[in-house]
């Protein structure tokens, strides 16, 4: 009688303490109820599992790997993401083609005209985009006094005489491909959005 009593007690306490390590904290992501429903079978670019034995204990796979392993073994570095095939052209909403000018072809770029029509809404969007992508270095007012810009050094004062009269195509090209100490931002900002930033810079920051 006494023995069964204490067995119950210990089982109860054991279950409680066993459960106490299920939650996540710090380095430990914790446990899941139904891991098969949590992990993607399809190749996911941002949550790929690189460990081949992950989920081996419930694996039903024919290749003998763990159930949750979902990295593409045929890609470089086993990444699920791949760069597009060379010379392919992405389709875009407005039918615009990729920007083909090289970084040094600044003079050819300067003649390009802004394809985005100037409306108050575009200007407002341009302001938001300018704040997100430019103000860190060029400052909210464009005077080259952003907080990161102070550390990098050599940030253009967009209101300075050397920059204030630059054509829109020039500004677009510099954002896209970089110039001097500024890096290329073409991979970060879609073309249409860069043209919106150009509108904002020309209409508001460089207003004369």
């Amino acid at each position: 009688m006494k023995i069964t009593h204490s067995i119950y007690t210990f089982a109860f306490l054991g279950a409680a303490f066993g459960l106490s390590s299920c939650g996540a904290s710090g380095e430990d992501p914790g446990y899941e109820f139904a891991p098969q429903m949590y992990n993607s079978i399809a190749y996911e670019p941002l949550s790929q599992i690189v460990n081949e034995d992950e989920g081996a204990w419930l694996s039903s796979r024919e290749d003998g790997k763990g159930e949750f392993f979902n990295s593409n073994i045929n890609n470089p570095n086993r990444m699920n993401m791949r760069e597009p095939v060379a010379n392919t052209v992405p389709r875009s909403k407005d039918g615009s083609l990729p920007y083909r000018l090289k970084q040094f072809e600044l003079e050819a770029a300067a003649v390009n005209v802004n394809p985005v029509a100037l409306t108050p809404q575009v200007l407002a969007e341009g302001k938001v985009l300018y704040t997100q992508y430019c103000s860190t270095c060029h400052g909210q007012g464009g005077e080259g006094d952003g907080k990161a810009g102070e550390v990098i050094g050599g940030v253009a004062n967009l209101k300075g005489g050397a920059y204030i009269n630059l054509p829109e195509g020039h500004i677009f090209h510099v954002v896209m491909k970089g110039k001097g100490r500024m890096g290329a931002h073409g991979s970060q900002i879609p073309q249409e959005r860069i043209w919106k930033i150009v509108h904002y810079v020309k209409q508001e920051i460089q207003k004369q």
Binding site: F12, A15, A16, L19, S20, C22, G23, A24, S25, G26, E27, D28, P29, G30, Y31, E32, F33, M37, Y38, N39, S40, I41, E44, P45, L46, S47, V50, N77, M79, Q121, T131, Q132, Y133, S135, T136, C137, G144, G146, K147, A148, G149, V151, I152, G153, G154, A156, N157, K159, G160, G161, A162, Y163, G180, R181, M182, G183, H185, S187, Q188, I189
Partner: protein
């Protein structure tokens, strides 16, 4: 004789003293070209030109992106300076030896042309460069000392006071305990010597029976209830945290600090997480985005050399290797979530779900990301229909209702919105 000597020695000693002062203060001794105007108006006008066109690359007394400028009229002629400022590239291309040497010293970094500056502008600029904003090193050092002394004081006093008060309280309580103990023992001794009746005798000589208390029914019931209640509560709490990764903050391959980037340097979230307004995922930036700044910033806190953490970015770029960041927000595959819908359409701040990211040295999962958490927000949040034609008819249909149009009213609680 003695008069002669003293007369001679006065200017001599004075010049030595001046030399000493110059050397002590660290100021370089150079001869400013006398043609540079030294009037207050010229210096003030030159400062305006400098701030608008030169400030981001040049300092007066220290090397920045470009060389330190003070003394430039001593090193080169005024005409040469004007030509270089107006169009340095043309001067270098013409083969001017001085210009080519400077360009080589600065890795042929291109200085933009300033053809728009007039002769007067340039002279004013040169007078500001030579005479403006001279820094007295002793005063600067004193200011720095003063500032650091000022910041060290201030905080910390209240918590110290609290500790002292607590300590005093504990000591007082201990003293009271000791005094009480002494009183009891004295009284017991005194009563032991007196003649007392049986009841009092028993009361004084009673012993605390621990075993009897342990075996009493009341005690067992109380303890058992407490233990069972505690265990059940712990078990239930823990069952509810299975699959909830709130607080998960793993070590990342590069010790990237959001506190430094998003907090101190105010880099907007979208600068790196470029997908957040146009796609399902916010995206982890690729190394080329890091390199926009880190081509130039190679260490933290203005230290020399390359920081070991930043060196990891360079290694990844050089070897074309991905950086294997550890994913923190693991939304189960059974539910769909789209950042663009929430951030671009809904206009929700990043911090609403991700917490004070700009203060996190190591990022952790701030919200629970449970279904209850999602639903709760969908029940309370108003639709952001301003300037969005998509919602026009819904807003019209809803206009008779007393309550505002919430996310739940347009299908925010439908199962298939997220689970399909």
């Amino acid at each position: 004789m003695s008069i002669n000597r003293s007369l001679l020695s006065v200017p001599l000693r004075f010049s030595i003293l001046m030399m000493l002062i110059f050397q002590l203060s660290g100021t370089q001794v150079y001869a400013v070209n006398p043609d540079v105007p030294n009037s207050e108006e010229a210096i003030a006008a030159g400062k305006t030109v400098f701030n608008a066109n030169c400030r981001t690359c040049h300092r007066l007394d220290s090397k920045n992106v470009g060389p330190a400028l003070r003394g430039v009229t001593d090193r080169h002629s005024i005409e040469w300076n004007k030509k270089f400022i107006r169009n340095s590239q043309a001067l270098i291309a013409s083969g001017d030896a001085e210009a080519v040497a400077i360009a080589a010293q600065f890795n042929n970094l291109v200085m933009p042309a300033h053809e728009f500056l007039s002769d007067t502008d340039l002279l004013n600029l040169l007078s500001y460069i030579e005479y403006g904003d001279k820094v007295d090193p002793a005063a600067a050092a004193a200011a720095v000392d003063g500032a650091s002394a000022g910041t060290s004081a201030g905080s910390g006093i209240p918590s110290e006071y609290l500790t002292i008060i607590l300590g005093v309280l504990v000591v007082v309580l201990l003293l009271i305990l000791i005094v009480l103990g002494l009183i009891i023992s004295i009284l017991t001794k005194y009563l032991g010597n007196q003649k007392l009746d049986a009841v009092d005798e028993e009361f004084i000589n009673q012993k605390f029976d621990f075993k009897k208390l342990l075996k009493s029914d009341g005690f067992v019931i109380i303890i058992t209830t407490i233990v069972i209640a505690f265990t059940v509560k712990t078990a239930l709490d823990e069952i509810l945290t299975i699959g909830v990764q709130q607080g998960y903050g793993p070590k990342q391959p590069i010790a990237f600090s959001h506190q430094l980037h998003a907090g101190q340097y105010e880099v907007e979230c979208q600068y790196c997480h470029t997908g957040v307004e146009i796609g399902k995922s916010a995206n982890i930036p690729s190394a080329n985005i890091c390199m926009n700044c880190h081509t130039h910033i190679q260490n933290v806190g203005g230290k020399e050399g390359i920081s070991p953490e930043i060196a990891k970015i360079y290694a990844a770029v050089d070897n074309n290797q991905p950086i294997e960041w550890v994913r923190i927000h693991n939304l189960p595959d059974l539910s769909y979530f789209n950042h663009a819908q929430h951030v671009a359409v809904g206009g929700i701040e990043c911090q609403t779900c991700h917490g004070p990211i700009q203060e996190m040295e190591v990022v952790y999962q701030h919200s629970s990301l449970t279904m209850g958490w999602c639903i709760d927000c969908h029940r309370q949040t108003d639709i952001n229909s301003k300037g969005n034609e998509y919602y026009d008819k819904l807003v019209q249909l809803h206009s008779n209702s007393k309550e505002a149009l919430k996310v739940k009213d347009i299908g925010g609680l439908e199962c298939a919105k997220c689970h399909y």
